[in-house]
Structure formats: C-alpha cells, structure tokens
C-alpha cells in the first residue's frame, strides 16, 4: 500500500472533522444537562435533609431505587431528591455512551467496516456493563 492510500481522502477527512465537532458539542451538552439536573436535585436534597447527620463511614449500599435505571426514573417522578441527583449522574454516565453510539453511526456512514466492528464491540461492552450484566 502506498503512503498516499493510507491517508483518508480529503472528503473523508472533512467528514471526520464534522463528526468530531458534533461529538464535542454533544459531550458538552450532556455534561451541561447532567449538571443542571444534579444541581436541582442537590438543592432539593439540601433543603429537605440539610440538617440531618451525614455519616458515610459505614457502607450500607444504596437502596434499590438508586441502583437501577427503572428505580431512578420512578424515584424522580415521585419527586424524591436523591433520585433526582442520581438521574443527573445517570445522564452523565450516559454521555460517553451516546458519543460511542454516534461514532458508530458515523463509521457506518463512512462505510469504514473495521471501525464499525471496533465501535460495536466498545458499545456492546458499555451496554453490558450499564444493564447490570456483571455480577457483583
């Protein structure tokens, strides 16, 4: 293979840059939305529980409501502050996953078969982990 052919064409490079810009904005938007949700839940949490004793020396594990996607959504609709903070954290965790998913779409559009496979593996690993596929 000549060095010329190793380089993506000018057209593909332009597309790469476009994709990068979009992904950068997506990441920033994800962090921004997550921060707003965490801060809103946090204000509610401090208003309701601010004068309770904070003791995290002993590990108890979070209740089921704060451990699963379904539980967090249920708690948020019930207006419980810890669940709202947890929803924000979940959105934050989902941000890089969304980035990988969109990279996959970009590689599919570019017909880059090798990187479609690579990105699918990464996405599968993330989904496997987020859906509780790993025994604790």
């Amino acid at each position: 293979m000549s060095p010329r052919e190793q380089q993506p064409s000018a057209r593909a490079r332009w597309t790469d840059d476009e994709v990068d810009q979009f992904l950068g904005n997506l990441l920033r938007a994800g962090v921004f939305i997550a921060t707003i949700v965490v801060a809103a839940g946090g204000i509610l949490y401090l208003a309701r529980h601010g004068f309770e004793v904070a003791d995290r020396r002993v590990f108890r594990g979070e209740p089921d409501e704060l451990r699963s996607i379904a539980g967090i959504i249920r708690g948020t609709f019930a207006g419980r502050a810890p669940a709202i903070v947890q929803l924000g954290l979940l959105l934050l965790i989902a941000t890089p996953v969304a980035r990988v998913a969109l990279s996959l779409v970009a590689f599919v559009l570019q017909r880059d078969r090798v990187y479609v496979i690579v990105t699918t593996i990464v996405l599968a690993l993330l989904v496997f982990s987020l859906t509780g596929g790993v025994p604790g």
């Binding site: 979070e62 502050a81 934050l92 690579v118 990464v122």
Partner: protein
C-alpha cells in the same frame, strides 16, 4: 457533621482538587478518593463511586474543547477503548471481590507512581516511518498540526500499547480514577504518538472507560448521591476555572506542590490499608 456542612466542605475540597488537577495537568481525580476517605471518613466504595462520576464530568467537559483543536486520533482512541473498557469492567468486578484494605494499598502504590512520574519529564519520539504493520492495516497513522504545518506521524507497538491500556482500564475500574498518566505513557512512550495527540486522545478515552465501570458501581449501590453531588459539581467547577486561568501552561512550583500532596496522601493511605481502618 450535618449534611449541609459535609456538602459545603466536600465541594470546596473537590473544587481545589479539580483546580490543581487542571493547573498542573495531572488531573484531579487521583486525589479525590484519598481526600474523601482520609479527611471526610467516607467509605472507600462511596469515595470511588463519586470519583468515577467526577472523572466522566471533567473528561467529557474538556473533550469538547480538545476536539475543536483537531489533535484527537479517534481511530487510535476507539481501538484502545476495547482494551480499557474490558479492563474497567474487570477492575470494577475485582473491586467487589477484594477487600477495601487491598484496594487502599494498590491505590497508594498508584499515587506514589504518579508523583514520581510527574517529576520526570518525558521525551517525545515522533517519526513518520516504521509504523507497526497493524497501524497501517487499521489506518492509525495520521497527521497533527504544528507551527510548520501538518506533520505526519506513524504509530508503533500497537499490541504493547493495547496491553498497557488493558491495565489502565483495570486500575480505572478498581480505583475510580481516570488513569490518564498511564494512558499517556502507553501512547507517547510506547506507541510514539505526539504529546498533543496522546493527551487529547487519552482524555477522549477516559470518559468511556469510566462509564464502563460506573454502570457496575451504580448497580452495586456504590454511587451515593449525597457523596457524588459535591464531588461532581466541585471538581467540574474547579477544572473549568483552572482551564480558563492557565490553559496548558507549565507551572513547576504547582506541580511540585501537587506531588508532595500526592505523596503524603499515598503514605497515609498505605498506612491505613496495612493497619486496617479503611
């Protein structure tokens, strides 16, 4: 301590960690866990959960700025993410199996290594020839902007870099850190990527790696909203302010100060891990 006081103090602590991390370029994630466990007596598992979340926030927040500069090698990042996410899932699994004392000892060793590493400047080895055969096959070689225009670079030792990334993933999942130092080491020292490319690509990967283990930590009940709240908001605010004050400038005095803090925390963590009480 009341919830209000804890939240306030932890926010200030996390802000300082984020600020120092951004100013020194060493990342604040590594001192969050020792700070929470040693200063605020937070259980190690809650501390690791909160730290992981803050790592995702700073990495994703910074990536937006980096991506615009056009240094990130998305193909190298995506390929190595297979290794880091596998490692992160393994590390998070391991964290549930081995005791907190063992985690504390491993943590202190990583802290000491990071402090040592930060005092030794690394040399850049960029060339445009002798790429690894896999680098050609997987189209990893690319270009990066320099003052003299676009410069080609060839990627070396792909399997060795991939293996080291697996280790970086394990440490990230086990300790709730970004493992940025190890990722940069693998990319610029072993795979011979230019500094600017390895730093930004590493940042690009950190969020994905941390998300892989954060899912497991969440399901296991290690992510406590009351702990993660001040840590995430504090670190993120500190990192944003730090990036604005001094973008990328080298500050030797601050670096030395940060290294001393890291060494002190490492020794205390080691002592607690060996004696029990973590």
């Amino acid at each position: 301590m009341s919830v209000l006081l804890f939240t306030g103090l932890a926010t200030v602590g996390a802000f300082s960690a984020g600020l120092l991390g951004a100013l020194t370029g060493l990342g604040g994630g590594i001192i969050i866990v020792p700070m929470l466990t040693l200063l605020f007596h937070v259980d190690l598992r809650y501390a690791i959960g909160a730290s992981l979340v803050s790592v995702i926030a700073t990495s994703s927040g910074a990536a937006a700025a980096y991506v615009k500069e056009g240094y990130t090698n998305v193909r190298v990042g995506m390929l190595l993410e297979i290794a880091t996410t596998c490692g992160a899932i393994g590390g998070a699994y391991l964290a549930g199996q081995i005791g907190t004392r063992a985690i504390a000892v491993i943590f202190s060793v990583v802290l000491l290594y990071s402090a040592y590493r930060s005092t030794k400047p690394l040399a850049e080895h960029v060339t445009h020839e002798h790429a690894h055969p896999l680098a050609i096959k997987l189209r990893l070689n690319s270009t990066y902007p320099t003052p003299h225009g676009l410069q080609d670079y060839a990627v070396k030792a792909v399997p060795a870099g991939f293996s080291l990334m697996f280790l970086a993933g394990i440490l990230s999942g086990l300790l709730g850190i970004g493992s940025g130092a190890l990722k940069v080491l693998a990319m610029d020292q072993i795979m011979h990527l230019p500094f600017k490319v390895s730093t930004t690509t590493s940042n690009f990967m950190i969020g994905v790696t941390a998300a892989a283990s954060a899912g497991i930590y969440l399901a296991r009940g290690y992510i406590d909203p009351g702990t993660a709240l001040p840590v995430m908001l504090g670190v993120l605010a500190g990192a944003l302010v730090g990036a604005r004050v001094l973008s990328g400038a080298h500050t030797p005095t601050l670096r030395r100060l940060f290294s001393i803090v890291v060494v002190v925390l490492a020794l205390e963590m080691l002592y607690k891990g060996l004696r029990g009480g973590v």
